[in-house]
Structure formats: structure tokens, C-alpha cells
Symmetry: none
Subunit: 287 residues, 2 copies
DNA sequence: GAAAATTATGAAATAAAATTACATTTTTGG
DNA sequence: CCAAAAATGTAATTTTATTTCATAATTTTC
């Protein structure tokens, strides 16, 4: 898992290559079924791994635990956080349970990955730009079009002057007409969609601020003033859906939250007003 | 903590009035500093509570633990989720790092929660319906509109006859005109949006199959033939964006994958064709 | 309101689990 | 191939948890 992972399972997975023979045995038994490991005694675990009890004990101390019980405690907490490190690709012979688990797990894993890697300073700067913007345009195509649409909805609720465009011609026209104070927020998983890169370039030339949510070192990232670069491993497998969309949505959640937090509490009444306006469209709750 | 809490700390807090003298002592010591309790031995905890060791042990067994170590394990897990739960909401004084972490963590936690609760049998049945459908309509409004749009995009890639509608009038017309073989897939976080519930009712009356992705026991869920009920805790806090969207998207990923897996490998060439058709719109990769 | 029954609690013994000290084996580098 | 270092295991020790049983507190019943 990610280098610098904060959770024990991730740390163990990271350290795997640096461990010696018996430690590797212990690690793989734990990684294979962390939950079971938390419920085993040191003796049981030692037998399962085919090593002696002191080896297990030494293993625990290596990972900054006071001893085996303390290690189990930390492991149990790590298990709770929901991250399982054994996600593989979906296979043709998978049953419902398998592919459901795999998809959830890989989504969760990727989120955890990005959480640990996201540049906070950059988030802060993007939030700055969004707050100062006279107007924000969200552009996306294909799968990212739904992401951009979601962003529009969310930021509108947070009372930012936003709009969303999935029409390539509209995107070009708006980009060309951009001025200082306009922010173009361009979302693309690959960062290689020609139309979007061109719109970004136009927007930049017209003096607007261009922000990208995209792949590291992609053509799009290079054109942007600020690029939030999200590296989600490519899907080697045709079955596996793109988790990048999800990660992008969560990053946008973070940005929206950043905007709201920065604005402070005097902004709260506005949010309530929007929420209340939706009430009449709903059936009352039972209780 | 809420009554009926699933987490150990909540359960203990709930049970407090029903406990006898020494059990109360133990409970209050644990509740006062759960984290410390997880790191204490039974002897230390007994002294801290002013009771004997067997009393502590009995206390643990009362809460469905095998013994003291097992209890500590569960407590440790409860502390993690509890702390997350308590500090989950974004506060006005949070800095970038805090709110970023909180949003990622709560998203991850909710995904893990739903992963473990999702009814696999239901997923299987919904996949069945989707495969057999003559036509699938995705309906959503507000935040769920972007989710429905994403679903259209994804299922279209998987060559299902799908369309997405966010126009209430279109939704009503299509629902009224539905026939056997049509599937109406209606997405709503609350399950209480009047327009969607009405469309669902119309669709059902016209003989089509109605599938919902929504809240448990909501009006919408009741109208549907099949309802995938996703319980994501309400955000009490105005700052926090809805994680339900994310969970819905992942559930739709699961369904799309189910459809593809069920169709088997002879369907693969089609997926490749779609993928290839997008190539010419992109800049070549560097490597 | 006192005796019996029930329940709660703790002391001590027992059992289980984890840790340590040290011996043996394996690996590494000359 | 040998010596030094590292890794691993055996067995003793220590720590920790659990059970048993006796005692104390509480409740119930007449």
C-alpha cells in the first residue's frame, strides 16, 4: 500500500519486502485474514505461520507495539477503518459476493491511497482561487461529465457562482471569452482528452485561472495553473469499473468543504435556507 | 451515544442504568477513558474501578466478549469508530488537513459499512432484471441526478439499452408509457422526493419493473419491486457533503460489473471496441 | 422485620498466554 | 570453509486472565 500509510495493515504491506523469512510468514498470515489474527493467541498464530512464538513476538515489536496483545489491539483498529489490502481484479468466474467485495475494496483502497498523497497545500490554494472567483466553470466529458455535473450541484448549494458544461463547443466559447477572475475547473481522468486540453489552453490564454483535476504529468496538468493530480492505478481489467470518478468526487467534496469552512459560520444561515427550500418537495418523515 | 448503538461504547453507555454497583464502577472507568482502558491489564482496571478482577471479567462477558482481552479488542475498535464518529463532522476551526482527512475517512467508513451490509441476493436479482430489460431508464433529481447520469454512461459502455432523465415531466411521461420489459431505475438518497415516488408509482402501474436505490423503508422503497436500500447516516452538520452519492455510485459499479460478469467473456470484444473508439480523441501516452 | 433465598462480590488457586534468556541453527562475508 | 553475525527456536519465567468457591450484600417471603 502507500508508502507512509498511517494504518497498521498498510504499514505491514509496505514493509513486506524488507522482512526476513519468518517475519514474512507472519506478515502474510496476518494480511491474509487480519480479523482472524486479532482473535488468535500468539501460539495459534505462530502455528499458522509455521514459526515459533518469540518470532511472532519480535514481529510485533518491529511494528512499534509493546508486545503481542498491543499489536492485536492496533491491528483490530486498523481492520475497523475498513481498508482491506487484498483486492484483486474481478474475474469472469466471480460470484456476486466476490465481485461486490472486490469493487468496494478497491474503491476504498484507492481513496485511502489518495487521502495519504493529496497535497494539502495545493488544496488550500485551489480553495483560495474558488472563493475569489467571479465565476467558476466546471468542464468534463464522458465519465467526468457526471463528476462535473455533481460539482456544479454541490458548489451551487454552497452559493458559488458556478456552471457546468459538457458541450465541447460551449466549452471552447466560454474558454475563449474568459477573463481575469474566471476560474475554469477542468476534470479529466486521463488528462489526455484533446478537446479539454485545448479548452484549457484557450482559457489560459484569455487570462482566466485554469484548475485541473486529472492525472499526474498529463498534457492537461501541464496547461493548468493549478493541477490536483490524482494517481489512481490504471484498470488492467476490463471488468473493473473506474474508481477515479469516485476519487474525483471526494476531492471535490473536500474543496467544497474547504470553501465553506473558509467562509466561516456567518454563512450557515444560507445553507439552511437552501435545505429548507427542498423540504416542500419531500414526503414528511414518519417520526 | 444513540440508543441501539452498534458500537461497544454506545452499548455500554446505554446499559449503564441496568448495571449493578460494581459493574457501574467498571463502566464509568471505561467510559471516562476508553483508550486508556484498552491499554490496561485487568488488574490495573480493577484497581482503578475499585473492584476485584473477577468483577471486571464478568463485566466483559456481560457485553458478549469471550473474556477481558476480547473485550479490549472490541473496545479498541469502538474507540476508533467512536472517535471518528465524534470528530467526523467538520468543524469551523478545522484546517485543510483535518477536514480533508475527515471527509476521506467518513467516505471510506461508510463504504465499508455498506459493503458489509449489502444484500448480495438482491444485487443478483437486480442484475437479472437489468440483463433481461428491453430498456432501462435511470431517474434522479438533485444530487442523484449526477449519479443517474453516471449510471447511464457506465451502462451504455456495457452495451445496455439505457437512458437517463432528470426532467420531471419526461420522467412522468416515460413512466406512464412503460411496458413489461422496461426497467425504471430510480435513485434517491432520501427516498422521499415526491416527484420520484410518483413516477415510480406510475411506472409500476403501467406494468414495468421498478428498481430503487434509496433509503431503507422510505416511500420510494415501498413502491419499488426491488429496492437496494442503503443506510448512510444523515449528516447532521451543514459542512459535510453527502457521502450517499458516493455509495450509490459504487453500488451502480457493482451492478454494472454484475451485468458484465454474467454475460461472460464473449462480450469482451465489445468493451474493447468502445475503448478503442475513444483513442482518437486523446493525446498519445508518453511511454 | 427476621429467616431464607437469591444475587453480587472478592480471595485464592488455577490455567492460559506472553515474554525473556539463552542455545541452536542459518546466513553472510572473507 | 570458517568465523562472525543474524535469525530462529526451546524452555523457563513472568505476567495476565479465568475459574472455583467462600463470603457478603441484597432481595424476597412469610
Amino acid at each position: 500500500m502507500t508508502p507512509g500509510a498511517t494504518n497498521l495493515l498498510g504499514i505491514i504491506a509496505d514493509a513486506l519486502p524488507t522482512l526476513n523469512k519468518s517475519e514474512k510468514k507472519v506478515a502474510s498470515v496476518i494480511l491474509a485474514d487480519p480479523e482472524k489474527a486479532t482473535q488468535s493467541s500468539i501460539a495459534v498464530l505462530a502455528v499458522a505461520a509455521g514459526v515459533s512464538e518469540p518470532s511472532v513476538n519480535r514481529f510485533c515489536k518491529k511494528f512499534n507495539a509493546k508486545g503481542f496483545p498491543d499489536f492485536k489491539l492496533k491491528l483490530a483498529q486498523s481492520v475497523v477503518s475498513g481498508i482491506r489490502y487484498v483486492s484483486q481484479n474481478v474475474a469472469a468466474e466471480d460470484d456476486v459476493g466476490s465481485y461486490t467485495g472486490k469493487i468496494f475494496d478497491s474503491t476504498i483502497t484507492n481513496l485511502a491511497l489518495v487521502r495519504d498523497k493529496l497535497c494539502l497545500d495545493l488544496v488550500d490554494r485551489v480553495v483560495d482561487k474558488l472563493i475569489q472567483a467571479r465565476r467558476v466553470y466546471f468542464f468534463g466529458l464522458g465519465a467526468s461529465s457526471a463528476v462535473a455535473k455533481d460539482a456544479e450541484h454541490k458548489f451551487f448549494r454552497f452559493n458559488l457562482p458556478v456552471s457546468f458544461h459538457e458541450d465541447v463547443l460551449m466549452q471552447r466559447m466560454l474558454a475563449s471569452a474568459g477573463t481575469t477572475g474566471d476560474v475554469f475547473f477542468i476534470i479529466s481522468y486521463t488528462g489526455r482528452t484533446r478537446e479539454l486540453v485545448e479548452s484549457a489552453t484557450l482559457a489560459r490564454e484569455s487570462g482566466a485561472t485554469v484548475i485541473g483535476l486529472t492525472a499526474p504529468n498529463s498534457p492537461l496538468a501541464k496547461v493548468c495553473h493549478l493541477a490536483i493530480e490524482v494517481a489512481v492505478p490504471e484498470n488492467t481489467d476490463e471488468y473493473m469499473p473506474m474508481t477515479s470518478r469516485i476519487v474525483h468526487l471526494v476531492v471535490l467534496d473536500v474543496l467544497a468543504t474547504g470553501v465553506t469552512v473558509r467562509r466561516g459560520p456567518e454563512f450557515q444561515p444560507y445553507l439552511k435556507k437552501i435545505k429548507d427550500s427542498l423540504k416542500s418537495t419531500r414526503y414528511a418523515t414518519d417520526d
